[in-house]
Subunit: 449 residues, 2 copies
């Protein structure tokens, strides 16, 4: 027996639910069916470290809207704990919690399957106490494991790894942070990550850089983590070793993937298959600095892609312009922001980067709470185009990285950045904002280069 | 006896000292002479309220660099307490502290005379205890007066008036704030100023709107302030009734003034007189939204104008693009930011404004310290161009107003604002940033209009 739906959305994360909601707003009489593997929809996995650290009190707080809002208020048909096990032209087959399966014919389909943790293929990852964080259910399991753990290894020092380290220290754990690369945070240049590394060590994190995890060992439950340089007794291990686009459904449908490995879409979020769209962490977009396809598995990008996909699914014209990979995180007392290309990446992309790094006060020097902030700006030596920026400080980083994000996305030059009309008042900024100071120094360097 | 200088700068404020420093950097062998009326150069009058409120401990803290830095390190000839009493083609005559006068011939002259307080012409302003704040010396006098004052009237509810009210309450004064207009902060729309007015009243400020000050009375020392609606016993009165460009020198030189009353300059900061430049609060610039001349007496604009004037004076090509009037202030627990045109102003400028105002969380809802923020965006109904923005909240306003400032200055549309790649992480923003939410709502309104 087969059902009919106007739109099927696979994946109930931010992109999927934004898209589904928007379709119903445009087309209230359409049948919109969402299949979500987990128990939750519209969840924010990026909140999981804060749940583990006790700042979010319950899993429910990480859910933007309960299922009821989508079903009752918005008229969307939502199936949680439902997995799409088969898909082809014009249909999907879903398996439900109770083991039954049903086929749905669709006019349009949205692939919003997100990303999955990328875990190294090493022995021992099946042991109890070895954790990854992608679904909210995994967070509940992690919290139970942590309640009996003293020493915790975090493998991977990207955003999630660092946020985990911070939150685990907050709840009194001994944290061993292991990173394959010579530095934390691969989305920043090394001169800036040094500031973050100092902050980790200052807060008691045992930091192992340039170290490859070989094995987790233990008797049923993880007891030790073995690397190429040593072994460490642990009660739990988190793998925060990055994510990869979850493309299984795309493959079933024969949808084309792009150079990044994520699903290739045009600005309307259409794939190469008629009637099939993709949005969120499963899909590529355009990097506004390079003009090339890139992959930004970040929630705000996913949401906006979902917004565009919703209009497209409903038959309206809408386009997603692309992104610049703006991100921010808090590592103990440090705020760390980045946008656009790193200096290293700029070289790879064929630019001739020139950069300037300055340290300046975040507020008028006499104003209480003024701290020091480091700003790095990267520009192309030939054109003066601002390619990227990184900001690290105790306070006020969001204000600078957001302004820089807009400048980078607009392909502004360093001189345009310098003349930005940023706000000033003693409680907020010095009269020469750190961004303006950095642009001034970089202008000087560009004039000489 | 007449001296010769390559460049004479009149006014040692931010614009003048930035320009003088830059000339010496380009032309180390030129003689650059600065005349400054007060005892200080490179001062920040915007810091005075914080000095009165005890946050800045001394007047010296409000000075960016002491005179010595300019004279010894940068080789600039600085005359403080020196007034230009006469000026004409190729010369100025300065009167020094000791009463002597000297004539200087110049090749190029910079008018950086700033702005002066605009005080209503009413009886009693000569009384002791009636204060204005423009020079650092006036701050010292004000501090002495305040030490014996309990009840203080602040006349004028612009940035300085509000910052004064805040700081005076902090040091235990009873503050009576009197404003001629029906609302505080004329650079914001009324719907947003209502939030500020509530905050003032909540913090014990006695707020009188729509009230005209008629007279200050007292026996040698001010004792009462009389308005069209009542009279109030006071021990001191601050006039924070705005500023006007200080154009006396410009008039002596026959320099043309613009429609705003400030000196008219081109993008290189040249006036209509050969060899005569103007920068800082005395000069007009271009409003990037309207494309017309406008006047922004704000320190960051003044500094950048000085930067451009310095290059021009030295014979190099540099241009100032204009500004959008971005500003921020803190009023007790509220942060208030604005950029571009208000809705009211947009109408006057011939736009057909459509606006959206939303209230949203400043961080992930579960994250400690998340508060509510109100964002108002104003766009042109015909083109969708973002014309202006106002943001009021307990926290995180700088991050939003800076991004909006860049968008407004770049003449971005509301849809471009919506697709801005603003940074997200639970400690800093919700996944849909308040700016993005406001843009989304405004997009909906524009679609209907």
């Amino acid at each position: 027996m087969s059902e009919k739906a106007n739109v099927v959305v696979v994946g109930g994360g931010p992109a999927g639910m934004t898209a589904a909601s928007r379709v119903k707003r445009f087309r209230p009489d359409w049948r919109v069916v969402v299949f979500e593997r987990s128990r939750y929809v519209s969840y924010a996995p990026c909140g999981i470290p804060y749940f583990l650290g006790g700042l979010a009190k319950s899993i429910e707080e990480l859910v933007h809207y309960p299922v009821r809002v989508f079903t009752e208020e918005r008229g969307i048909e939502v199936h949680t704990e439902a997995e799409v096990v088969e898909a082809g032209e014009g249909y999907v087959r879903a398996r439900f919690k109770d083991g039954t399966e049903r086929t749905y014919e669709w006019d349009k389909l949205l692939i919003a399957t997100g990303a999955r943790p990328r875990i190294p293929r090493i022995p021992g990852t099946e042991l109890k106490g070895v954790l990854t964080l992608r679904t909210l259910e995994s967070a509940e399991e992690a919290k139970r494991t942590l309640s009996q753990a003293e020493r915790v290894a975090v493998v991977g020092a990207g955003y999630i790894g660092l946020e985990l380290a911070d939150n685990l220290v907050r709840i009194g754990k001994k944290v061993i942070l292991i990173e394959l690369l010579p530095h934390v945070m691969p989305t920043l240049d090394y001169d800036m990550t040094a500031l973050v590394e100092n902050e980790l060590v200052r807060n008691g994190v045992e930091l192992h850089l340039n170290e490859t995890v070989k094995e987790a060992t233990g008797n049923g439950k993880v007891e030790k983590i073995v690397t190429d340089k040593g072994e460490y007794r642990v009660d739990a291990v988190f793998f925060a070793t990055g994510v990869a686009p979850e493309t299984a459904l795309a493959e079933m449908l024969g949808v084309k993937k792009g150079i990044t490995g994520a699903v290739s879409v045009d600005a309307s979020m259409s794939t190469n298959k008629e009637g099939v769209y993709a949005a969120g962490d499963v899909a590529e977009t355009v990097n506004l600095v390079t003009g090339k396809p890139d992959w930004f598995p970040l929630a705000p990008v996913a949401n906006k892609m979902g917004y565009v996909a919703g209009a497209s699914l409903a038959g309206f014209k809408e386009t997603f312009p692309g992104a610049v990979g703006t991100a921010i995180t808090k590592v103990f007392g440090l705020e760390v922001g980045r946008t656009g290309l790193t200096e290293e990446r700029a070289v790879k992309e064929g630019f001739k980067p020139v950069s300037a790094t300055i340290t300046a006060n975040t507020r008028a020097s006499y104003y209480p709470g003024s701290t020091r902030m480091t700003v790095k700006l990267i520009a192309d030596g030939s054109t003066g185009q601002l390619l990227g920026a990184q900001v690290v400080g105790a306070d006020g980083v969001l204000a600078r990285i957001n302004a820089l994000s807009v400048l980078v996305a607009k392909r502004a030059t360093v001189r345009e950045a310098f003349f930005s009309d940023l706000a000033y008042a003693p409680p907020f900024a010095p009269v020469w904002d750190p961004v303006i100071v950095a642009a001034r120094v970089l202008l000087g360097k560009l004039a000489q280069s």
